[in-house]
Symmetry: C2
Subunit: 304 residues, 2 copies
C-alpha cells in the first residue's frame, strides 16, 4: 500500500489508545481497527458514501427486535457466520463437516425412532420421505445412544415458528440412536426458502444483484458422549440454489440425493404407504481425544 504519512500516523494513534486490560479484547479491537482503516484507505469513501454506510448500520440495528436479529442476518449473508463456523469447527476430512446453526433452532420434542415428524398440513400435501442414517466415529464404529436433534422447513419453506397452520414442534425431533448407531424418521421433503427481505439486509441483497434463497435443507445437531458435537445441514441434491446459498452454508459432503422408492416391501419396512423418498445421511463424529490431537496440529500449523 502506498505510504500516506497522515493516515499511518492516525492509525498508530488509534492503536496506541487500545489499552484494554483484557488482552483478547485488545487483540480483537486492534485487528478490527487495522482492517477498518485499511478499508478506508483502499476505497477512499467520500463523506457522503461514509454517511450512507453509517446509515445502513443504524437501520440494521434498528431493524432488530427480540425475535429478529438483522446483524446476524447480515453476518450470514456476507459469509461471515460460515467463516466463524469454519475457524471453530474444522475437522478431519473423514468427519461430517459442520455448518451454521441458523435462526430457527428451538427445543424439539423427543420422539421414538421411526416417528413421523410431519404433523401439519404438509402431511397431506407432500410425498412421504424417510430420512435415515448411522452415527459413527471417524473409523466407522457405530455410536449407540447419540442424540440427533432435527429441525426443518415444510414443503412450502416454512418452519413451525413461522406458520400458524403447523402445530408446535412440527418437523422437529430429538431422537436417540439405537444399538447399531442408527436413526430414522418419517418426514416430507423441505423446500428452499428466502431469508427475510423486508429489512436493510434485503435492500443490500437487491442492490448487489443477489437472490435471498437458501437451498432446501434439514438441520441436524448430533451429540454423543466422548465425541465432539456437530451442528450441520443436509442439503437436497438438485436444488437450484445449491451453488448460490444466500448464507454460504453448503459443503459438498452435506448434499444428499433423495431416491424415489416404489417397492411395497421397502415401504412396509419404513412404515410408509405407497411410493416414498429415501434420504440417507450418515454422520461421522470426531472422538474427543482425536479432537485434542487435531487442535494441537492446527495450532502448530497456523501462523498466529
Amino acid at each position: 500500500m502506498t505510504p500516506e504519512p497522515e493516515l499511518d500516523r492516525l492509525l498508530a494513534d488509534v492503536l496506541r489508545q487500545v489499552k484494554a486490560e483484557d488482552p483478547r479484547l485488545a487483540e480483537i479491537v486492534r485487528s478490527a481497527v487495522t482492517h477498518l482503516h485499511a478499508f478506508v484507505r483502499e476505497v477512499r469513501p467520500t463523506e457522503e458514501e461514509w454517511l450512507r454506510g453509517i446509515d445502513f448500520l443504524v437501520r440494521t440495528g434498528q431493524a432488530c427486535t427480540p425475535t429478529r436479529n438483522e446483524f446476524i442476518l447480515l453476518s450470514d449473508m456476507l459469509g461471515l457466520t460460515s467463516a466463524v463456523d469454519e475457524v471453530n469447527h474444522a475437522g478431519p476430512p473423514e468427519a461430517t463437516p459442520s455448518s451454521v446453526e441458523g435462526p430457527f433452532h428451538s427445543p424439539a420434542p423427543a420422539r421414538p425412532l421411526g416417528a413421523s415428524i410431519a404433523e401439519g398440513p404438509e402431511r397431506d400435501r407432500a410425498e412421504p420421505m424417510v430420512v435415515h442414517g448411522r452415527v459413527t466415529d471417524c473409523a466407522g464404529t457405530p455410536i449407540a445412544g447419540a442424540t440427533v436433534d432435527v429441525w426443518q422447513a415444510d414443503d412450502a419453506g416454512h418452519y413451525d415458528t413461522q406458520d400458524v397452520a403447523q402445530p408446535d414442534g412440527n418437523l422437529r425431533a430429538l431422537l436417540t440412536t439405537d444399538d447399531e448407531g442408527r436413526y430414522w424418521f418419517r418426514s416430507v421433503l423441505p423446500s428452499s426458502y428466502p431469508v427475510p427481505t423486508d429489512g436493510p439486509v434485503g435492500g443490500l441483497l437487491t442492490a448487489l444483484g443477489r437472490h435471498p434463497m437458501r437451498p432446501a435443507h434439514i438441520h441436524l445437531r448430533v451429540e454423543a458422549a466422548g465425541h465432539r458435537p456437530v451442528t450441520t445441514h443436509v442439503f437436497v441434491a438438485g436444488d437450484p440454489y445449491l451453488d448460490s446459498d444466500a448464507a454460504f452454508a453448503v459443503k459438498d459432503a452435506l448434499v444428499v440425493a433423495p431416491e424415489r422408492r416404489d417397492d411395497p416391501g421397502e415401504a412396509a419396512r419404513w412404515a410408509v404407504d405407497g411410493p416414498f423418498l429415501d434420504f440417507a445421511f450418515d454422520i461421522r463424529l470426531v472422538a474427543q481425544p482425536a479432537q485434542a490431537e487435531l487442535a494441537a496440529v492446527t495450532l502448530g500449523g497456523v501462523a498466529r
Copy 2:
C-alpha cells in the same frame, strides 16, 4: 496468511455473488467483505465472541435517535471519521489542514466583525478572549469577503444545543472577512469535554482503558469564491488531552497558544475590558485551480 482452502473458497463464493450494477457499490462491498473475512481469519473469534460483537452492533444501532448517532460516534472514536476526512481533504503543506466537522454544527447567526459571541452565563464567568486572524490563499494573498463559520463550547464544555442556560446561537457566528482578509470576534476560552459515554460506545471506551475527552477547541468552516472550503478545528495549546483526543482530530498546525495581554491600549483596540486572552489563527485556503492540479498529482501517485 496461511492458506486455508475452506476459508479461501468461502470468500471467493461471497465475492462472486457481488453482482451490483453500480460498480462503485461493488468495489466498496468487495473491499469490506475481504477485510471482514481477513479479520475473522486473523482473530479466529469463538462463536460467543462473534455474538458479543453482533450484540455490540445491535446496541449501537438501537442507541441511535433522531438527535444522536452512536455509529458516527463509534466512527469518530476509532479514528475512522478522521481517516475519511484525510482521504477527501488532504492538501498541500502550506494550506490549513482540515479536521472533522463533528456533531455540533448548526446554522450560526451572522454577526459583524468584532462582535462578542459569548452571550450566555459564560460571559460573566470567564476571561474575555479575542480570536482573530487572516484568511489568505496559500501564497499569503488576503481573501476579502470569505465567510468564517465558527462554533465552540463554553468554558464548561457545553454547546448551546446542550445547555438550556445558553441562548440559541450562543458561541456561534457567521463572519465575513474585511478587505484585508481579516476576521475577529470576542469570545471565551472553550473547555475540553467528554463525548457521550452513556451508550455502548462509552462502554467500549471504558473496556479499552480510554478516556472520552476531546481537547478544548473552536470549530471553523471557511469558504471563499474560487477556493476550496475548509472545515477544521483550532485547538488550545497546553490542553492535557491534545495527545489523546478521543476523536483523533488534532493536527500540529491546528494548535494555537492563547496569550494573556494586560495592555489597556491593546484591550481598547479589541473593545475588551481589562486583561484578555489573545488567540490568533490564520487560515490558508487552496485556490480551486491548485486543487485540480493537486487531485491529478494525488491520483497519479496512488496505486488504485
